[in-house]
């Protein structure tokens, strides 16, 4: 709140210099970590994206579910197909208020190209308890190249508010 002295452009003290240097080095380290992990790490945020209309995506999901259907299961009283595609292939997951379709079945250690898109509002793909979270937008076909490293039944929770039934939007991924 003081009016500063006429000349306040003064050299930094020893402690200020020390802290500034250390803090700056830390900032550089933080910066380097991201590209380092990008090239070395096995968990990176998917970037592959295509434009798609809800109708086009819906056709792909339906064809995919018909082709590779291996069984049925119910979620919230609704019967959904359980779908298992061969390792390495394209698999499709449709988000709409308030359903994830279909139920996907994977094999542990195999890699899949998982396409996710929304039919209507924004949704959030939150795979639990693995805790992988991705944003799902209508009009964007988001491709995650994914390799499950654990087996069991995993739940997909919607974690983007999609109007009043949002919390009932639950899906399932089975890994064998």
């Amino acid at each position: 709140m003081l009016a500063p002295e006429k000349i306040w452009w003064k050299p930094l003290g020893r402690m200020e210099k020390t802290w500034l240097t250390v803090a700056f080095v830390w900032c550089v380290f933080l910066t380097i970590m991201m590209p380092l992990w990008y090239f070395m790490g096995r968990q990176n945020v998917p970037t592959e994206t295509y434009r798609v209309t809800p109708t086009q995506f819906n056709e792909k999901v339906t064809a995919f579910a018909e082709q590779y259907k291996v069984g049925e299961d119910t979620i919230n009283g609704v019967t959904l197909p359980v779908v298992e595609a061969p390792a390495g292939s394209d698999v499709y997951l449709r988000a709409s208020t308030w359903q994830w379709y279909p139920i996907l079945q994977f094999k542990k250690g195999e890699t899949y190209r998982l396409h996710i898109s929304s039919m209507d509002l924004l949704h959030g793909f939150s795979l639990q308890p693995v805790n992988i979270n991705l944003q799902v937008l209508p009009g964007y076909d988001y491709v995650a190249t994914i390799t499950p490293t654990s087996t069991g039944e995993f739940t997909i929770v919607c974690n983007e508010f999609c109007s009043l039934g949002h919390h009932t939007m639950i899906g399932k991924i089975i890994v064998k």
Partner: protein, 575 residues
């Protein structure tokens, strides 16, 4: 030696209607005084509305209680975001801008009519948003209102009115400074606190323009004038408004930190260049932060996200780390110069812990930095964000920054505004002494409960997902910590409102006689002008304790940050 209140004479007459504050020796323009009072009152009104919503939604997410039904939960969640994150904080900041651009510069308010126009627009917009959300079920869209979730056109209009009002009020800040300079009300550079507020004001202009870019098309789209609105574009513009808006809060809060430190411990900034450079870093780099919200969105490249989310090279983080050193360092020097020179932390032990401005400052700095800052940088890391996006870790982070940090600091500052600006005797002083601690403990538990729940995968903005079978039972414990914290924080909030209302409504109207509320009759503000260069540079008074504190902070930062990489490395492979 630095001086307070420059000496250029004022002319009492048509242009200048002012009073001289007996305590601070500052001249207060009467327009400014009335504007501060009006903005502060509206801020508290919004805090009360948002606080009621806070209690009810927290008691709903506290799984053992689960109070509201889903519709009311989402409705009050929408209200809570609007009233707290926008209305309470922005009204308070506008009061701060009017104060900083006049009283601290020995200047008059040069555009009171414009300022009142802004205030009225903000008030209408704020109240309208509340009404629309409460009475129109379609407008339960949460505070972010992501397209294509369509609210009533009045919902978007209320945002626009509020933003235009805030923009107008912010413009008067610049008008005041230009006029003050032209009328030679102050000489040389402006005080550091005004410099910080100016950083906030510049960021606010940019932020509000980007808000217009997001909300105006949404308004037209809700009226069916615009047929389509790409949700990805909306998110980009919305966060170009939403995230920098928090940096406005940051710059305003840090300015208030400097003021509180000076008012309660009589500091002089250790090195003006150092502190001002830190504000400049905010100005240049913090705008990139909108990418924090888009890290797991489709359609964006790694390079774009990495550059933006790191604020170019964590340079805005560097700014905060510089303030985190320079403010406690200045306090340490000032207190050591008073003779509290024992050991590393003798100065800290002898701080005025019963002075609400001091305790609010310390609570605010700890919660903002140690919880808010560290968790924010971590979840804002491109890859780590996959573990955190839209989980409760996010609100856990920003409740530490905006509630524990900004709100605590603003509340502490209010206790001085009442005697100095409202010119009312402060009532319930004992409550004011305890309030920052109660509020701080509450908000700390809120944040920690949210962060630990989020780490277990609990999503934010969700009425109930415990039935999904995916969430471990231990979340009942962490959600209970969050709920208990919220109750304590609300008690702290009630204490604050009680002190403010009791003082304004029943306090005796009188000129303030002292600056400190409880811890003494001395005037640290005037003492700070007597702190000599020799004292500042004295070997005895150097801030050794602060250096230890900031290094401890860095160690904690590193531990938390690196353990998150370890967590990420254990999850499924994805690219």
């Amino acid at each position: 030696m630095a001086t307070l209140a420059p000496t250029t004479p004022w002319v009492k007459g048509a242009k200048d209607d002012f009073r001289v504050c007996g305590v601070t020796t500052l001249k207060v323009d009467m327009h400014t005084e009335r504007l501060i009072i009006a903005n502060a009152v509206m801020a508290v009104v919004c805090l009360v509305l948002g606080g009621i919503a806070a209690l009810l939604i927290a008691l709903t997410r506290w799984q053992a209680i689960h109070l509201l039904d889903a519709t009311w939960f989402y409705r009050l969640l929408t209200l809570h975001g609007i009233d707290m994150l926008i209305a309470w904080i922005v009204f308070f900041e506008m009061a701060g801008l009017h104060f900083g651009s006049t009283a601290l510069l020995n200047a008059r308010h040069a555009a009171p009519k414009l300022a009142w126009t802004g205030f009225i627009l903000m008030t209408v917009g704020g109240l309208m948003a509340n009404a629309v959300v409460l009475f129109d079920p379609k407008s339960i869209v949460t505070f972010t209102a992501y397209v294509p979730l369509k609210a009533h056109p009045l919902f978007y209009l209320s945002y626009i009115l509020f933003a235009v009002g805030a923009l107008i009020a912010t413009i008067t800040f610049f008008i005041n400074i230009v006029v003050a300079k032209r009328e030679k009300r102050f000489e040389g550079s402006m005080p550091l606190a005004v410099f910080g507020l100016m950083t906030a004001a510049i960021l606010a202009v940019y932020t509000l323009l980007e808000g217009a870019a997001a909300i105006v098309p949404a308004f037209l789209w809700s009226l069916d004038i615009l047929p389509n609105y790409d949700p990805g574009i909306y998110r980009n513009f919305f966060w170009g408004f939403g995230h920098p808006a928090q940096q406005v809060n940051l710059a305003a809060m840090v300015s208030i930190w400097y003021m509180l430190a000076q008012m309660t411990t009589g500091i002089r900034p250790v090195n003006e260049k150092f502190s001002r450079f830190a504000f400049i870093l905010y100005l240049f780099f913090i705008n990139l932060g909108s990418a924090h919200h888009l890290l797991v969105d489709p359609g964006l490249s790694f390079a774009w996200k990495a550059v933006n989310t790191s604020y170019a090279m964590y340079l805005a983080v560097l700014g905060s780390m510089m303030h985190a050193f320079s403010i406690p360092a200045a306090m340490e020097i000032a207190l050591r110069a008073k003779g509290y020179n024992k050991g590393l932390f003798g100065w800290l032990r002898n701080g005025p812990w019963n002075e609400p401005g001091f305790s609010a400052l310390v609570v605010s700095m700890i919660l903002f930095g140690w919880i808010g800052g560290v968790t924010g940088v971590t979840i804002g890391t491109e890859q780590i964000n996959m573990l955190a996006h839209n989980t409760l870790r996010l609100p856990g982070h920003f409740h530490a920054t905006v509630v524990g940090g900004t709100t605590t600091a603003f509340m502490g500052f209010t206790y001085y505004v009442i005697p100095l600006i409202f010119r009312k005797e402060l009532k319930l002083k004992k409550w004011a002494v305890w309030q920052p601690y109660v509020y701080g403990v509450g908000s700390a538990l809120v944040s920690l409960g949210m962060i630990t729940s989020g780490l277990q995968g609990v999503s934010r903005r969700n009425w109930d997902i415990t039935f999904s079978g995916a969430i471990p039972g231990t979340v009942n414990l962490t959600l209970a910590i969050f709920g208990i914290g919220a109750v304590i924080a609300v008690i702290g909030g009630i204490m604050y409102v009680a002190v403010v209302l009791t003082s304004i409504l029943t306090g005796e109207r009188k000129e303030a006689t002292g600056l400190l509320l409880v811890s003494g009759t001395n005037n640290p503000l005037l003492e700070s002008t007597q702190l000599t260069d020799e004292q500042m540079e004295d070997k005895q008074n150097q801030p050794k304790g602060t250096l230890v504190l900031v290094f401890a902070f860095l160690v904690w930062f590193a531990v938390y940050y690196l353990s998150n990489w370890w967590l990420l490395g254990r999850t499924w492979f994805i690219k």
